[in-house]
């Protein structure tokens, strides 16, 4: 009547399946989705991660001419979409669980970047590293259309000011050229 459960229970009696947790390290698979951390060296502050984050766990703060990206595990869904979307692999999910704490604000990984100030209005709008990366990529992919000086101009003028410049015919032509050529590259 109860033979199979008794047999199984006795089998478990001899070998319990409990892991020796505090002593032994818990099982983590190779691509475990733990808390995301930034790599200060690789990150260029493009905020792609903040755009895709489903829970808005990544916040972008611009203060004193510096841009700070901050991921708060307290709001994170551990979906690895930031890791996927990062163009330079600067954010990755640790193979580790979040350590419990008495303060909820300690679950953080922050990265700060110096920013370029707009040449016209003086407002910081892009990080230096991001600007360099964009320049490098543009030169690689469409150096025939656009010169390095022109790129420099674009990357030192903020979006609001650029809108105003677009009304100047010469620049507008250049912009159209870049956009037509760039369509395949950017999308």
């Amino acid at each position: 009547m109860k033979s199979s459960i008794v047999k199984e229970a006795l089998k478990y009696f001899v070998n319990p399946v409990t892991e020796a947790f505090p002593a032994a390290k818990p099982y983590f698979p190779k691509k475990y989705r733990g808390p995301p951390v930034y790599d200060q060296d690789k990150c260029m502050g493009c905020t792609a991660c903040a755009h895709v984050c489903p829970a808005d766990a990544i916040t972008v703060i611009v203060k004193d001419g510096k841009r700070a990206l901050e991921v708060w595990y307290g709001k994170c869904t551990f979906c690895a979409r930031c890791e996927e979307s990062c163009p330079v692999d600067a954010i990755h999910l640790m193979e580790e669980f979040g350590i419990p704490s008495e303060d909820k604000l300690v679950f953080k990984s922050t990265v700060t970047h110096d920013m370029v100030k707009c040449r016209l209005c003086g407002k910081p709008f892009i990080t230096i590293k991001h600007a360099e990366w964009v320049k490098k990529n543009l030169l690689e992919k469409m150096s025939d259309v656009i010169g390095s000086e022109e790129i420099d101009f674009f990357l030192t003028v903020c979006r609001d000011c650029r809108h105003e410049i677009e009304n100047i015919p010469g620049f507008r032509k250049l912009l159209i050229r870049v956009l037509i050529k760039g369509e395949k590259v950017w999308v």
């Binding site: 478990y12 319990p16 399946v17 409990t18 892991e19 947790f21 818990p26 808390p35 489903p54 829970a55 808005d56 708060w72 595990y73 307290g74 709001k75 994170c76 869904t77 551990f78 669980f97 979040g98 350590i99 419990p100 704490s101 008495e102 303060d103 909820k104 679950f107």
Partner: protein
């Protein structure tokens, strides 16, 4: 007298450390993810009973309340009542991102009544969506440390 008091104090500290009963109170809007991980913590692979941790059925027996999930307007008062039913000394562990910050459900949506720590005082936060059972165990251990501190203060 002093020695006896000290002995009893250390005994009390020891007992609080070695015997912790949990009460699992879901805070309204939850996805069950954290709840099944809490349940998994009592099952063979993790087995919290070896640390003296039990899942108590009634809040009256509990030392530590595990709160998981997003606080909704509907369940706010019920959770507060559960909290008041737990005898002192008690500690609250907020489990998962939802309990800490509202996670993906945000804190300004219409059925949501903020985070857990706006309603009851939370002692330990366990991040994760959901946290691994190991993290939950570590969180409870942290709560026990806090209880111990409180015991030391009260004596």
């Amino acid at each position: 007298m002093g020695l006896k008091k000290c002995f009893l104090c250390s005994l009390a500290k020891w007992a609080r450390k070695k015997s912790v009963w949990l009460y699992h109170a879901p805070a309204g809007g939850l996805c069950n993810g954290c709840d099944i991980e809490i349940a998994a913590a009592i099952t063979p692979r993790y087995d919290v009973e070896r640390f003296g941790i039990l899942l108590a059925p009634s809040p009256r027996h509990a030392d530590v309340i595990l709160v998981a999930g997003q606080m909704t307007k509907h369940s706010k008062e019920r959770l507060l009542r559960v909290y008041q039913q737990v005898p002192e000394p008690k500690a609250v562990v907020a489990i998962g991102s939802c309990a800490i910050s509202g996670n993906i459900f945000t804190t300004d949506n219409y059925p949501v009544a903020g985070t857990v720590d706006q309603v009851i005082p939370v002692d330990v936060y366990v991040p994760g969506c959901p946290p691994k059972p190991e993290a939950i165990i570590l969180g409870v251990v942290k709560a026990i440390e806090k209880l111990e501190k409180r015991t030391a203060e009260s004596i």
